[in-house]
Symmetry: C2
């Protein structure tokens, strides 16, 4: 292995071992996220996952992004304020390590003053889009626990907006009264379209539209699959209504896990936008490779 | 004791022992709600709480409202469809009991066909308002885990709308990423007003406005008390925007626990409405007394 890419979020750690040709020789996944780690836990966590595969006699470079660089993470990598290029590799912060085989650099996230907004980790997917489509000018939609809409131009992030849609969907379907109506699997394209339409046309009514789902399952036997698709459509439709300037008449790339990327893509298509879905892991890795090159160039 | 009123919801059971003059001689609280009970558990739960205080030699009437009458409760008391008087006491369903000292009647909730909506238990507070202000014509706002807005006229419930605001507030402040920013106590009237204003003027932007709270606590040190008040204002403001016909130019009564009743009342006042707050327990008991009288009259 030549170097290692680490996506270290609140609830997960994902490592890719990269060989000299830039290929992935191994991928490792762990649930040792920032949320369960103290600052002194990070180095042992890395060593535990990598076991005895770290080359001896030299320090292997590890590039890390995500909540690992938050104030309550391993070491704070202060946000870079937009407008700025998504990769501020030269602002990476070296993490304190004892093992001479480790050379860990934590990459900063991005911040925006007005409206106040922040991201940590998602900037890697943005850098990946730039790497795969140099000069891309338009909007990047990053679905996830939080969905981030990013306006990019001339290689820079101009502005962005974070929506808590994914987290709302998870809490509502697993913990609220809607859990009694909403299934955990399955899909119903018509119900999704209905929810989307409702969210787009009455976005202000979310709080009451949500309970209508429960009432319809009681009074009209709306099934668990239809309820799930309707809820997803309702939340995405409400989100689309609130970030309209981010997609109306825009060239859009959607980069996220397949299910949600597909849902956002269908939603945008219903509004006359023709988004292109890009693979999330591929974009993350392309971003890491660009960061690795920038850091190497900076050192020389 | 002459008879017993039982508010039996998903997570709680509240019993009031009523004497012959209609006064409360004892109140009992339990966490044995519908959510943790099988149909065969209800009678033992009642007997356990009432111990040996039930008079011998006669059946004591117990009137129960709430989720106890749901399909998955003790025995189903089918919804009464609006428009209808809030108390359909004559439609009460007798629960199956073995102990000769028990005579349990489960009162039905209300349903609405379009938009689909249901309530179970809250109708008792509506009946209480009618008992305390005969002929009241206007809107009753019932804050709680779910807030219900009820249009009443000529002694009947004309229409109603349920908003999941209270449940959203609980989940967002305790389980989402906002829990890191939002305090569990304290209040900040200015922050509440700011949130309210944001919710009322940009109700469609809820999903992104929520994350702004987190970003402002990171970038601008928005404190836990201010975050809590802002979140509450934002959710109530968004709700007010979606149920505008229920309060604009209306005569409004707010019946709920003090904190939330006060928050809704302040929010309405900021919009030029002069709501009157009525005590929640008092209205519930007034509703039960009216139900008891109606049932007694029906039997004769």
């Amino acid at each position: 292995m030549d170097w290692i890419a680490a996506d270290w979020g609140t609830t997960h750690l994902r490592l890719w071992e990269i060989d000299a040709d830039g290929g992935v020789s191994k991928r490792l996944d762990s649930d040792q996220g920032m949320g369960v780690l103290d600052p002194s836990d990070y180095e042992p966590t890395l060593l535990g996952l990598l076991r005895n595969r770290l080359p001896e006699g030299r320090a292997t470079r590890i590039l890390a992004c995500g909540m690992v660089g938050a104030r309550q993470g391993w070491i704070e990598a202060p946000y870079s304020a937009v407008p700025i290029a998504p990769l501020a590799a030269t602002r990476a912060v070296k993490a304190p390590t004892r093992d001479p085989r480790l050379d860990v650099h934590v990459l900063p996230g991005l911040s925006q003053a007005e409206p106040a907004d922040v991201m940590r980790g998602e900037e890697m997917r943005i850098a990946g889009v730039f790497a795969s489509e140099p000069g891309f000018d338009g909007v990047i939609c990053l679905p996830g626990l939080h969905t981030i809409w990013v306006q990019v131009s001339a290689g820079e992030v101009v502005s962005f907006r974070t929506c808590m849609t994914g987290e709302l969907l998870g809490m509502l379907s697993e913990r609220s009264v809607l859990r009694l109506s909403v299934g955990s699997t399955g899909w119903d394209a018509n119900a999704f379209a209905e929810g989307l339409d409702r969210g787009l046309s009455r976005p202000e009514a979310l709080s009451s539209s949500l309970f209508t789902l429960r009432a319809e399952s009681l009074l009209r036997d709306l099934g668990p699959e239809a309820s799930r698709a309707r809820l997803t459509g309702l939340l995405i439709g409400t989100e689309l209504a609130s970030v309209r300037p981010y997609w109306l008449g825009q060239d859009v790339r959607v980069v996220g896990e397949p299910d949600m990327a597909e849902a956002y893509s269908r939603a945008l298509e219903s509004q006359g936008v023709a988004p292109k879905i890009l693979d999330s892991e591929e974009m993350t890795l392309a971003g890491f490779r660009a960061a690795h090159e920038a850091l190497a160039a900076h050192a020389h």
